[in-house]
């Protein structure tokens, strides 16, 4: 059975429909890339999964539990954790306090402050500093670290490379090897399609709120992807 099983999900923004009849699965420990042009509905989809967008219809099973209408704070306790787009750290909390916020949902597991600091040593150096004084890359590490502190079973990463220098992106993506070693499944929403494909086993492409392509990440024909990404 899949860890996440989405069947016929429809998501709305007031009178507008943003996502149509979405089918989406993630197996335990799997890495899945979700790509698509701006406004294709990727972020909306992730927000609906974790319960931040309440206008949704359809079946969403996480680990066999129906989360289709579950509020965000309960979804979090099941181990479906999102790294939100734009980092969105807590500005009046230090980096260490930001990381500790990940422990509020009381999920047990192998991720601790110590292990997050081992993964991103710069955060230990900056632990007493507020997010505003950090570089974008360090903020992104803190946001990922905060999510890891919740010991996720499925980690949803929304545009984690956006606006960062290539060297930093490289460093962050290298950390995924460590994260996945724990058996954590990952969904990567990315603008950088090449990077997403290289890190994932399977891919979904969204076009105007519908899945336009899905399949293994390797061996994909470039023209096939271009077509799915931009439409005609």
């Amino acid at each position: 059975m899949a860890l996440l099983d989405v069947n016929g999900l429809e998501i709305f923004y007031g009178d507008l429909q943003a996502v149509f009849d979405m089918n989406f699965t993630v197996a335990d420990g799997e890495a899945v890339a979700l790509v698509g042009a701006n406004g294709a509905g990727k972020s909306t989809f992730l927000k609906a999964l974790v319960g931040l967008n309440e206008e949704r219809r359809g079946a969403v099973l996480f680990d066999g539990i129906d989360i289709s209408q579950m509020p965000a704070e309960q979804v979090s306790r099941l181990g479906l954790i999102m790294v939100p787009e734009g980092r969105l750290l807590f500005d009046s909390l230090t980096i260490e306090e930001n990381l500790l916020m990940g422990t509020v949902n009381r999920r047990k597991g192998s991720w601790t402050l110590r292990r997050v600091f081992d993964l991103f040593p710069i955060l230990e150096e900056r632990r007493r500093i507020f997010p505003g004084q950090l570089s974008g890359g360090q903020q992104q590490m803190a946001a990922i670290g905060r999510a890891l502190m919740s010991n996720p079973r499925l980690l949803l990463c929304d545009e984690i490379s956006l606006g960062l220098a290539p060297v930093v992106v490289e460093q962050i993506y290298r950390s995924f090897a460590d994260i996945r070693r724990e058996g954590t499944a990952v969904v990567l929403v990315e603008q950088d399609v090449k990077r997403a494909l290289a890190t994932s086993e399977r891919i979904y492409c969204l076009l105007k709120g519908r899945v336009s392509l899905t399949g293994p990440a390797q061996g994909l024909q470039p023209e096939q992807l271009t077509h799915a990404y931009f439409g005609n």
Binding site: V50, G51, L52, P71, A72, E73, Q74, S76, R77, I81, M82, P84, L88, F90, D91, S92, L93, E97, L100, M101, G102, V104, N105, R106, R146, A147, S150
Partner: protein, 288 residues
């Protein structure tokens, strides 16, 4: 020498004023809501203390603070859960203002109905007149105790907010109400505790003020005005600013009374007005 005494007494009175403001500052800092009914809740807590001490005349009146604080916490929790949470995320900032204003009107009239419109005060006997003589200065015991209590409460609040998980959750919720949900926090629940805490702190101020000066069911507006001036003078959302703001107001009031015995709170209001003109961001400008 008489002026030094006036300044010291002003500072002591300021501790009490700071207590009136801190609850308002806490709620505003965390949920960006101005609780217009804060003054009425303070008066309500004073009525409760008077009622309790008439029921149990053998217990020292100041001990009534303990049940009144507990009761106020519960009332604040319920007030937030049942009423204020409905509008706290409203995109229109007028909604929470109107709602809490409505609550203040209702509370005022309920208090007239239940307790009558008579002037009351909380009698603590000898304690209200007792004073210390230090270096030729006459310092009231009660105001001194009040300032010490205010300072201790401010420190305790700061400790809780800075160094406990509850404090982290409160600050994080103030920063990003949506994102804390991703960590398993229910923002509405956090607000309930914060409002409970706010009214509990307000109750301490309300009861101690009832010892110093008399009150009626209509005293809420005056108390809210002081609380509001303390908060704005100190800098919105800043706790230490609120303490400074309270002390500045207390000193202005007593100096004013020295110059003109009929002035009442006029000089405190004037100080507030002038500060608003020259330094609208307050004495200390920082958040929670």
């Amino acid at each position: 020498m008489i002026w030094v005494e006036t300044l010291i007494n002003g500072a002591l009175l300021g501790g009490l004023y700071a207590l009136l403001g801190i609850g308002l500052a806490l709620v505003f800092g965390v949920m960006r809501v101005v609780n217009i009914a804060h003054g009425e809740f303070m008066v309500l807590s004073a009525f409760c203390a008077v009622l309790l001490s008439s029921l149990f005349p053998q217990v020292p009146p100041l001990l009534m603070l303990i049940p009144v604080i507990a009761l106020s916490f519960a009332v604040g929790w319920l007030y937030q859960a049942v009423i204020v949470n409905r509008v706290v995320t409203s995109p229109d900032p007028l909604s929470p203002l109107l709602l809490t204003f409505g609550v203040s009107v209702i509370l005022r009239n309920v208090m007239v109905e239940v307790f009558g419109a008579d002037v009351r005060s909380l009698q603590v006997g000898e304690l209200s007149r007792a004073s210390l003589e230090i270096a030729g200065l006459n310092i009231g015991i009660m105001p001194l105790l009040t300032l010490v209590l205010a300072a201790l409460l401010f420190m305790a609040l700061q400790l809780v907010l800075r160094h406990t998980e509850f404090g982290r959750i409160v600050r994080a919720t103030a920063d990003r109400r949506d994102i804390v949900r991703l960590s398993g926090v229910k923002p509405d629940r956090v607000y309930n505790y914060v409002m409970g805490l706010s009214l509990a702190l307000g109750a301490i101020g309300g009861v101690l003020l009832a010892v110093r000066s008399s009150f009626t069911p209509f005293s809420g507006a005056e108390r809210l005005l002081i609380a509001f001036e303390v908060v704005v003078l100190g800098g919105l959302g800043s706790f230490w600013g609120a303490l400074l703001g309270g002390i500045a107001l207390g000193m202005a009031q007593l100096i004013g009374l020295k110059i003109d015995p009929n002035a009442g709170l006029l000089y405190a209001h004037l100080l507030f007005f002038i500060m608003l003109l020259i330094r609208p961001s307050g004495l200390v400008s920082s958040r929670v």
